[in-house]
Amino acid sequence: MRRLEMVLSRLAWFVPTMAGLIVIVFLISNVIPTDPVRIMAGENATQEQVEALRVKLGYDKPLAVQLLRHFQDVLSGNLGTSIYTQRPISEDLFKRLPATLELSIAAITVAILLGIPLGVVSALKRNAWIDQVLRVLSVSGLAFAAFWLAMELQFLFSMTLRIAPLNGRISGFGPDPVTGFMTIDSLIQGDWESLRSALAHLCLPALTLALPAAATIVRFSRAGVLEVINSNHVLYQRAMGIPSRLIVWKYVLRNALISTVTQIGLIFGVLLTNAVVVETVFDWPGLGSFAVQSILQSDHKAIIGFTIWTGGLIVAINLLVDIAHSLIDPRGAR
C-alpha cells in the first residue's frame, strides 16, 4: 500500500516537473537579453524582414501571452517546423527517438555488464593491484571528452584496423521500420544480414557512451559493496560461520545492486549528455545529431523542442528508476 502511494506521488511529481521545464526553457529563450528573432532571421536580414518574422512567429505579443501559447504548442505537440527538414519538429524528434533509445539502451547494458562485476571485484580485492588498476581506469573513464574518444575509436577500429563501420546505423536499406529499433526490426523480420550490420554499427558508439557510464557504475558498485561488507549483518553472518563466498555473492551483492540501481537515472543523464556529441561524430540519426544540425541552422524552435524532449526523457527515466527501486527494495524507496 505504501509502495502504491510512493509510485503515485512520483507520478504526480512528473507533471509539475515537466511544466517547470517548459517554463524554464521558455524563459531562457525569451528573457535572456538577446533577440532570438534577429538570430533566426540571419545576419543579412533587414529590419523590416526581422519585424515581419517577429509578427509571423508571435514574438511581438506580451511575454505572458507568448508563454501561454508556448504551453499550448508544447502540449498539443506543435513545436513548429524545422528549418533543416521542413517537417514538423515533433515529427522529426519522434522519428529520431528510437535511434537514440537504441543506442542508449545498448550503451547502458554494456556499462552495467562491465561495471558491476568489475566494481564488486575491485571492492573484494580492496587495495590489491587489480583494485588499483580499476580505480585508475574508473577515474580516467570520467575524464575523457566523449567526442574525442569517439574519434579516436573511429581512427583505431574503422580507419586503421577496418574492423568496424565508420558511421551510420546500418549498411543498405535495413529492415522495414516497425519499432524504429534497427536490431529489433531486423530480428522480427528474420533479416539476419541487417541484424549483423545493425549490431556492427552499434559497437563503437555504444562503447563510447558505455565507457564513462561503466566507470561511474564501477565506482558506485565498489562503494556499495564496501559499505555492505563492513555492515553489522555481514559481521553477524561471519560470526555465525556462514561460508564467506555465500555471504558475498548472495547477501552482499543483492544490497550493493539495489544501491547501484538508484544511480542508473543519474548515469542515464550523463549518457544522454554524451550522446549529443557522440551521435554527431558517428552520424547516428538520433536526437543528438538533430540538435547539432539545428544549431548549425540556428534553428531556435528545433533546439527548444529538443531540450523539452530530452528533459522529458530524463525525467521519465528517473521516474521509472524510482519506481523500480521501490519495487525491488523491501524497505521502499527513501
Binding site: N232, L235, Y236, A239, G241, R254, P330
Partner: protein
C-alpha cells in the same frame, strides 16, 4: 556456584595479548587477559567502552578485523582445543555458529535489510543445524535435503515459540524492518540457540533496546540458557544488567582483566580499587552519582604495570612497574592488585 569450581572449564582465555594497527601506532587493546568460564555458566564481562571486552568477544568468535589485528601471545581454549591454533576451515564449519554462537549488540543492523527473516534464519539452519552432518560440500552448491529442511523449519517455529514471538509463520515472511526492536532481539536469541551451541557470546545484547524491554530480554536469555545448559559470555558496561542474570563477573580495565568473582562475592566484597569505584559510581537511591576521576588511558602508550594506576588512589611504585599477579581473596574469587580492599 561451588559446583562450578570443580567442573572443567568450557572456555579458558590465558594471557591473551593483541593489538590493532592504527594511524598513531599499535594500540595494545588486550594485555595478558585471562578469563574462565564453565559449562552452563553465565559470565558477565564488564567494563567501560573501549576496555577491550568486545575485542575479547570477537577474538573468541575469530572475527577480528584481519588486516588490523595482531595477536602477540596467549591462547583461547574451548572444550580442550586452542581456537587460535585450530584450522580455519574447521572453525568456520564446526565451531563458529555451531558450538559457539553470537548475539550481536544491534539487532536492527545485524539483519540484512533486503532478505526476509525466514530466509536469514533458514540460512543459518542450512549450515548450522544440529541435524546437519559435519563437513562436506562446496559452500555455493551445497544440497539442503528436503527432509532436513522440513525438520529445521519445525525447529525454527518451535524456537520462535520458545522466545515468545507470536505468529511465528507470519514473522518468517516479514522483512527485518517490519518487526520491533525487542522482537528482533528475540529473533537473534532464537538464532543463537537453534544450532544447540555450548557457548553463546552476547555482545551488549540489550544496549540498543528500550529500558522496559531490556529486563524481559535478559530474563528470557537467562531462562533459555539455564534450561538448555548453554554457557553465556555476556559483555556489558552496565553492572545492573550483569547483576540481573550473571553467575559470575569478570571486570576489565583498559585491556587488562582486574577481577573475577561469583556474583554475590562481587557485589558484597569487591577487592580491586577499580571495581570499588565502578560500584560506587552506580546511581544511588539518594540520587548522587560519583564518577571516577581521570581519563581512560591511551592504548598506544599505555601506563606501565597496572593500567589503572594513574587513576588509583592506592597506587604505589610497584603498581607502576609491574602488573600484579592473581590472588584469591575468596573461593572462585580472583583479583590482580597489590593493595586490594579487604
Amino acid at each position: 556456584m561451588s559446583a562450578g569450581m570443580t567442573a572443567p572449564d568450557l572456555l579458558t582465555v590465558s594471557d591473551l595479548s593483541l593489538g590493532f594497527r592504527t594511524d598513531a601506532g599499535l594500540a595494545r587493546v588486550l594485555d595478558g587477559v585471562n578469563l574462565r568460564l564453565q559449562a552452563g555458566q553465565i559470565m558477565g564481562l564488564v567494563g567501560e567502552s573501549g576496555c577491550g571486552k568486545t575485542t575479547l568477544a570477537r577474538a573468541v568468535l575469530g572475527i577480528l578485523p584481519r588486516h588490523v589485528a595482531r595477536i602477540d601471545r596467549g591462547s583461547i581454549r574451548f572444550d580442550g582445543t586452542d581456537l587460535l591454533q585450530a584450522d580455519e576451515k574447521i572453525l568456520a564449519d564446526q565451531v563458529r555458529g555451531r558450538s559457539i554462537t553470537f548475539i550481536p549488540q544491534d539487532p536492527f543492523s545485524s539483519f540484512n535489510p533486503v532478505f526476509t527473516i525466514g530466509t536469514q534464519m533458514m540460512e543459518i539452519m542450512r549450515w548450522k543445524s544440529p541435524r546437519r552432518p559435519v563437513g562436506s560440500g562446496s559452500p555455493l552448491f551445497h544440497a539442503y535435503p528436503r527432509a532436513r529442511r522440513a525438520a529445521d523449519r519445525e525447529a525454527v517455529l518451535a524456537m520462535l515459540d520458545a522466545v515468545q514471538l507470536p505468529q511465528p509463520k507470519q514473522i518468517l515472511a516479514k522483512y527485518p524492518h517490519e518487526v520491533s526492536g525487542g522482537q528482533r532481539q528475540r529473533l537473534m536469541i532464537a538464532m543463537a540457540l537453534l544450532p544447540e551451541p555450548r557457548l553463546v557470546i552476547a555482545d551488549e545484547p540489550t544496549t540498543a533496546l528500550d529500558v522496559t524491554i531490556q529486563a524481559q530480554i535478559l530474563k528470557l536469555l537467562r531462562r533459555l540458557a539455564t534450561e538448555r545448559n548453554v554457557a553465556v559470555l555476556l559483555t556489558t558496561h552496565d553492572l545492573g544488567t550483569a547483576y540481573e542474570i550473571c553467575d559470575g563477573i569478570t571486570v576489565m580495565y583498559a585491556g587488562q582483566d582486574v577481577e573475577a568473582a561469583p556474583i554475590d562475592a562481587f557485589f558484597r566484597r569487591p577487592a580491586h580499587p577499580y571495581t570499588n569505584k565502578l560500584l560506587a559510581s552506580l546511581p544511588r537511591p539518594d540520587g548522587k552519582v560519583q564518577g571516577i576521576p581521570g581519563e581512560v588511558p591511551n592504548l598506544v602508550r599505555p601506563p606501565m604495570g597496572c593500567r589503572f594506576n594513574p587513576r588509583c588512589d592506592r597506587a604505589t611504585d610497584p603498581c607502576r612497574a609491574e602488573r600484579p599477579a592473581l590472588t584469591a581473596p575468596g573461593p572462585a574469587h580472583a583479583v590482580r592488585c597489590y593493595h586490594p580492599h579487604a
